[in-house]
């Protein structure tokens, strides 16, 4: 059984016990424990089930590489699935549940799959679920969906907050082991701005566990001293619990800081995403031990040798009483020695190598009385939910059992793989190092930055350098190199520390154990624990023709689980290489993509959630609208009142009331969102003549003109009223959505095409609150406010004037988008609400009511006025809309003119704008298409038109619509059929789009 030892743990505080639960069971651990070490201390070896076969799964590793031990953590607003127990720090009250089992962890129905494993080989899903076709939707998919996925999806809204932080530095060091500490120290001593990230809650990485002497003192001292020195340096920032998640173009690096995962009651954000821009990056990300591929290597109790060592040294936890060590290298002997010294039994070390002599750790192990069998291997592991023993064999053979040894834990080591992920994310190439049988960074082909030069340097184990002394020297050199690239200089007297060297025998690559393992053994030799990919699956893939590692990966799902194959990839591709009879480097690796380890989606969103998910733009009168029944609709980022509901009336009724009231009495519209651009300069007239299809240079001071803007493609992009302010100044109104884009459009042409034209543009949209005062009583309302003459004679239709109204400094435009007598009044935004209040006060006895955007739409549709975005969709030219009158015939050029001469644009068969009147007075469905005679090549009915705007007009008591119809203007009176999605056919007559006050008498009073 696994248990807590009496020996101290480096990282735990026995004076601070913590209570937690696993599957509802109360357990105890200590401050400093990970959930993994605490579970093991409570003899909870079984922590989950695998994805495909629901095999029992135990903890394998002690860090981010853990493939098995994923749990659901927390509850309600803090529930999170797929959390690794090895990277979860224990805290008081932690609640964890195991995943992927039903009905319980101990007894799981899905485990039946393991008996079917012969029928669930690689590519099973692709092969099985193809036929019969109909089965997919009704049988396969529902069953797969039910059993798919590891954790549960959270049901509650995340109650925590998250943030970003932008940081800039010269040298970013990722990894706080000895290599990272040394690199940060060396870089710091050059005076460079340095940031050091460490993903765990402690510094030093593996070195303090594995031991060693640096400059004559234990490596622990070196870690403490280096850390103390770094803390004193103003130019160095060090962060624990912060993982370098990804390296991107031009030195952009994401850091993932977990602020309160270990202390949920702490105030402040839970995670912080560091958005770092580093001139140079040093990846001191260490290495990950590889499992060995032998039969039963997935049975709980089989662990990485280094992890067993970590649990003993760091947490005072033994995984088993009797541990068999199986290895192809010297390093795993450290585990045997550590266990032995902790008073635990190590019945045997199985070393696949045959060494000429015992040196270093091998000799030490033998000296401690540990039995060492050279050239030996695991034939198979005994046990179900827990290791009970091991059958041993010769590595050279096919697995004939030589001996059975009872044990309750197996420590395996297949060598070490440098963590090259961050090096590779942005294009760093790898080289195969045959001496250590691993892919290591090819430092001659680094990721390249904006200047085309390398910006990442690996250091220490991440560079494929493993001996402590080499690690320190390598890290020192990497940091000095990176700083030197940036013209920082290391003081001459600063040199690398030196560590004592251990005598070591070379490792021997072992990709299958035993070397000639039979098919039966291979079927039980796991490569990917989480996704259940075995040696036999990869060999099958190769046999079926998957020669590319990227294809074989997807076919077998090797390395595609949430651990992204940190343990399985190298073994998997070595197996593939073996099956293909190729060497490993020629098979290559799959692509490493960020993040290195899963990060929370919420950290990526940062502050952008809830009410600040995206910016919402508010007019100066927004709060009044909200307090007076407004239902808002989004118009770009703006929120505009759609209608103001009174009492219990429906939204539709409110809109009808607003239309009628405006037509009969007085309506007030908050038009502040309309874009307002000032265009000024000696060439402004000429410029606007290019921007608009009409002639703007001839507009008289004091007058307004409705203008159309097209893109170079000829399509209508915006419209609005332009006012001539003085000799060289115009004010251009744009649509609500167009203010920023049209401003940018104007600047673009001025800066990139006509840069010698003297024109300045300023966007003054938000300087003004603008109110449309609309209806027969509009003039009376303004006269009651008093201060200026707004009579027909003083201020005619399509004129503007500055003045004062009710004491407010205003600019009044006599323009109409409703067909009514109408004034649009601009006032400085700071006075917008006060002006609105004043209008309402004088308007009460004149029947004033505010109206929203839907009323605005109906008013304009009754008059046949087009709306950008309704009648236009980026493929419509002004000529389609009967707006030829607004296109100057005199001008030799304007944006879109040449395009409008193209044959397709002058085609008489382009659909053209008409009014549509339903025969039965109902309202046409929005977007409905009119169908004509015959069918197209696909057998669909031919389309001859579509509805662009459709409303119920309370003024006319019927449905009215506008639409684009083939030869529409020549087909007045014809009745078209519009099939609705409700199955009904709607019949509508083609009519003039101006439904109301054709002569324009109402606005001209």
């Amino acid at each position: 059984m696994s248990t807590r030892l009496a020996t101290p743990g480096r990282l735990i505080d026995r004076n601070k016990p913590l209570n937690f639960t696993f599957n509802g069971k109360n357990m105890r651990g200590y401050a400093g424990d990970t959930l993994a070490s605490a579970l093991l201390a409570n003899d909870q070896m079984l922590v989950g089930r695998s994805f495909k076969y629901h095999r029992p799964r135990g903890i394998v590793a002690s860090g981010a590489e853990e493939p098995n031990a994923l749990v659901n953590l927390g509850r309600d607003g803090r529930f999170e699935p797929n959390q690794r127990v090895t990277t979860t720090e224990l805290f008081e009250g932690l609640e964890a549940q195991s995943q992927n089992h039903w009905p319980s962890l101990e007894f799981d129905v899905g485990a039946i799959n393991k008996h079917l494993s012969r029928f669930l080989p690689a590519g099973f899903y692709y092969k099985m679920f193809m036929y019969p076709r109909a089965f997919w939707k009704h049988v396969y998919e529902p069953v797969i969906r039910h059993s798919a996925g590891l954790g549960k999806a959270p049901k509650s809204r995340d109650e925590d907050s998250y943030e970003h932080f932008y940081a800039f530095c010269d040298v970013l060091v990722v990894g706080g082991g000895v290599a990272g500490l040394q690199a940060a120290l060396t870089a710091g001593r050059t005076g460079a701005r340095v940031i050091l990230f460490e993903q765990t809650d402690h510094w030093g990485g593996r070195a303090p566990v594995d031991g060693g002497m640096v400059d004559g003192a234990p490596v622990d001292n070196y870690v403490d001293e280096t850390l103390a020195a770094l803390k004193l340096m103003d130019n160095v920032q060090i962060r624990l619990r912060t993982m370098g998640a990804g390296v991107y173009d031009h030195g952009y690096v994401l850091g993932y800081e977990r602020l309160s995962d270990h202390a949920p009651d702490q105030a402040g954000p839970r995670h912080r995403l560091w958005r770092v821009r580093a001139a140079q990056v040093i990846t001191a990300t260490g290495a990950i031990e590889r499992p060995l591929s032998f039969a039963g290597n997935d049975i709980p109790g089989v662990m990485l040798a280094s992890a067993l060592r970590d649990y003993v040294v760091n947490y005072g936890v033994s995984v088993g009483d009797r541990t068999v060590v199986v290895t192809n290298n010297d390093n795993a002997y450290l585990t045997a020695i550590t266990l032995k010294k902790a008073g635990l039994d190590v019945p045997v070390i199985l070393d696949a190598r045959v060494l000429p002599e015992d040196r270093g750790l091998v000799a030490q192990a033998r000296a401690l009385g540990i039995r060492v069998l050279m050239g030996h291997a695991v034939s198979s592991v005994m046990g179900g939910k827990r290791v009970t023993g091991v059958k041993i064999c010769s590595q050279a053979g096919e697995g004939s059992v030589l001996e059975e040894i009872p044990c309750d834990a197996i420590a395996m080591s297949g060598g070490w793989s440098p963590v090259v992920h961050l090096w590779s994310h942005c294009g760093g190439k790898l080289r195969w190092d045959s001496a250590t049988a691993c892919f290591a960074p090819d430092v001659d082909n680094p990721p390249k930055g904006a200047d085309g030069m390398g910006f990442v340097t690996p250091a220490g184990a991440a560079a494929g350098v493993f001996a402590l002394d080499d690690v320190l020297h390598d890290a020192h050199a990497a940091a000095e190199g990176a700083a030197t690239c940036l013209d920082f200089k290391l003081p001459r007297d600063v040199t690398s520390p030196t560590a004592e060297r251990r005598e070591e025998s070379p490792m021997a690559p072992v990709w299958m154990m035993p070397q000639g393992a039979s098919a039966k053994l291979r079927e039980k030799s796991w490569l990917d624990y989480q996704n259940d990919v075995k040696v036999s699956d990869v060999r099958l893939a190769a046999q079926e023709g998957f020669v590319s590692v990227e294809h074989a990966k997807r076919y077998t799902t090797l390395g595609m689980a949430t651990d992204q194959g940190k343990l399985s990839n190298i073994n998997g591709l070595a197996t593939l290489a073996g099956a293909l009879d190729k060497d490993i480097p020629s098979v290559g690796t799959t692509t490493f993509r960020p993040p290195y380890h899963p990060i929370s989606l919420a950290s990526i969103a940062g502050e952008a959630k809830g009410h600040i998910f995206q910016p919402i733009r508010r007019t100066p009168m927004h709060d009044w609208h909200a307090a007076n029944g407004a239902e808002f609709e989004p118009v770009g980022q703006w929120r505009r009142p759609y209608a103001y509901k009174r009492g219990l009336e429906s939204t539709h009724d409110a809109v009808m009331r607003e239309v009628t009231n405006t037509r009969e009495k007085l309506g007030l519209l908050d038009a502040s969102t309309l874009g307002k651009l000032i265009v000024k300069g000696p060439d402004a007239g000429r410029f606007l003549d290019m921007m608009y299809t009409n002639m703007m240079s001839t507009l008289k001071i004091g007058k307004c003109r409705y203008g159309l803007m097209c893109s170079e493609n000829g399509f209508l992009i915006d419209d609005g009223v332009v006012a001539r302010i003085d000799e060289d100044t115009w004010l251009c109104h744009t649509t609500t959505g167009g203010a920023e884009t049209i401003h940018a459009h104007m600047e673009e042409w001025l800066q990139t095409e006509w840069w010698d034209w003297n024109v300045y543009v300023a966007n003054v949209t938000e300087q003004y609150a603008q109110v449309a005062v609309v209806g027969p009583n509009a003039r009376k309302a303004l006269e009651k406010l008093g201060g200026m003459d707004v009579s027909k004679e003083a201020l005619g239709f399509m004129e503007w004037v500055d003045g004062t109204l009710g004491g407010f400094k205003v600019r009044v435009y006599r323009i109409s988008f409703s067909g009514e007598l109408s004034y649009e009044i601009a006032v400085d935004a700071g006075y917008g609400q006060a002006f609105w209040d004043a209008l309402l006060a004088v308007g009460t006895e004149l029947g004033a009511m505010p109206y929203g955007t839907e009323c605005l739409h109906i008013l304009r549709a009754e008059k046949g006025f087009i709306m950008i975005g309704d009648e236009t969709d980026g493929t419509v030219i002004p000529q389609d809309l009967g707006l030829g009158w607004a296109i100057s015939k005199k001008k030799t050029d304007y944006l879109g003119k040449r395009a409008q001469e193209r044959s397709h644009m002058t085609d008489p068969d382009r659909w053209k704008l008409v009014g549509l009147e339903t025969v039965d007075k109902s309202t046409l469905p929005d977007g409905a298409y009119a169908v004509g005679e015959g069918t197209n090549a696909n057998g669909q009915r031919n389309m001859i038109g579509r509805v662009t705007s459709t409303y119920h007009s309370p003024t006319l008591g019927r449905g009215i619509a506008m639409g684009l119809v083939l030869n529409g203007p020549e087909r007045m009176g014809e009745i078209l059929s519009f099939p609705g999605t409700d199955g009904k056919d709607y019949e509508a007559k083609i009519v003039n789009p101006v439904f109301y006050d054709l002569e324009g008498e109402k606005q001209n009073v």
Partner: protein, 110 residues
Amino acid sequence: MLNIHCPNCGVTAEETEFHAHGEAHLKRFGPGSTDDQFESYLFMRKNPKGVHFERWRHQNGCGKWFHVARCTMTLEVFGSYSAQTYTPPQEIIEKIQHRRPDWSAEAEAS
């Protein structure tokens, strides 16, 4: 994420301050141009794997347009320069040739 230098205000900032606007140095063809000229101006764009001249705007900054010479494959940036020019300046051409000896401005123009 790219780091871009704006030659107008002198700020170097991350891509989120900027907006890319496609190929640079297009010659406008208006009324009077042939269909072929107009088609080429409006629709035909280079899409090289390698050196590319682009228009950018410092949208969340000084608001000005400028040009960038960039490698679309390695994302190496050769330099930023004024938007008020019809061809890349000699200094930029030289930088590109220094980094990409096989590249020539003449071949680019054809």
